[in-house]
Subunit: 212 residues, 2 copies
């Protein structure tokens, strides 16, 4: 336990822990994939992140012993399906059960549909956002292999768009993951740039966010 | 726009967008760093993710033109500070302003403190969690370079622990980022494994989560 103070006031106390993964909140997504001639499979992934804007890229980390690791390695494709509260139980189920033991999609009422632009990997119907991904590089790190993938297709559910065509992803009620706990996304606090926005821009955009 | 139906019921409609980054919610964190003999700097990062469990590793992606890119590249160190709602404005400010234009920490009332185990990179006082990181590999991807780092130190604010020593990160009110919008973490939905948990375990753990 470390306690520190300085001239400007009391500083919070901290407890030192052994090195461990604690980045949060992190995405809790369903990754879907399929082998040539095989049935669709899905697994829950929290070890995922956006890694590049141009080209648009994300990463997922998978244990080599997972069924999906081989499927994605072979096909070079997967779909990242963002998950809302309505699909939280399916997400968890796909995280603790293996496709080796049965058809996980059927077990939790998920349906596969073709993902435009991909040859094998299906998307999961009804989930808020489907990101088609093409693997560019696989980097072994230890317990997990890092799959770096380009986002080659994006499908967003119609109900997340305004009448004027603007997308309100904050209204999807997406799930985040914090140290073993799934949490619903809560109220919006601000938008990128809000701390330096002109008062009229701030008011307009915040009032729109609060409508969500 | 794509509309599909199958025998089992109506399927949601989707809109196809041009490929873009849309993984969500993603962490919105403050990354702090320092050059030899220089002043502490901090920048906001949303392109971050957990990439490996053993060893514990995370990644952050940085544009080569950012001041912090050079500082981290040279020092080989940084700290990922998780951000709660109380620090949301500071987070945004550090995302839109550059350390080249002035002392960002002073401008938004952030204080640096030494991070145990690191030589140069400071932690940011009062933030809920501080993760000390040592760079293992840098991979250029395009607009961003991917920094793969080992988590070599973890400090968690005392108020996030229970009397019995268990950590409740879900109580920190951490900020997530969804397509340009900062969102507070909302109510807990479940824990890893809840979909298959024994009824007694489920009840005990859920009641504890709801106390948060």
């Amino acid at each position: 336990m470390i306690s520190e103070r300085n001239e400007t006031g009391e500083m919070a106390e901290y407890r030192d822990l052994a090195p461990t993964t604690m980045l949060a909140p992190i995405p809790a997504v369903l990754v879907s994939c399929r082998a040539e001639g095989g049935r669709p499979n899905a697994l829950a992934v929290a070890w995922a992140g956006t890694v590049c804007s141009h080209p648009p890229m994300l990463s997922v980390s998978l244990k080599p012993e997972r069924l999906s690791h081989g499927l994605i390695r072979e096909s070079g494709e997967f779909v990242v399906n963002l998950v809302d509260a309505a699909h939280a139980r399916a997400l968890d189920y796909c995280g603790v059960r293996s496709g080796r033991d049965g058809d996980k999609l059927a077990a939790c009422g998920l349906r596969a549909e073709p993902m435009p632009g991909l040859r094998l990997a299906p998307a999961l119907a009804d989930l808020p956002v489907q990101l088609g991904c093409t693997v560019r590089q696989v980097i072994p790190l230890g317990s997990h292999d890092l799959f770096l993938a380009e986002i080659t297709g994006v499908r967003v559910r119609e109900d997340l768009f305004d009448e004027d065509g603007s997308l309100h992803l904050e209204r999807a009620g997406l799930i985040g993951y914090s140290h073993g706990v799934y949490q619903r996304a809560g109220g919006p606090i601000g938008f990128f740039g809000w701390s330096v926005a002109r008062p009229d821009v701030l008011e307009k955009r915040m009032s729109r966010l609060r409508q969500g």
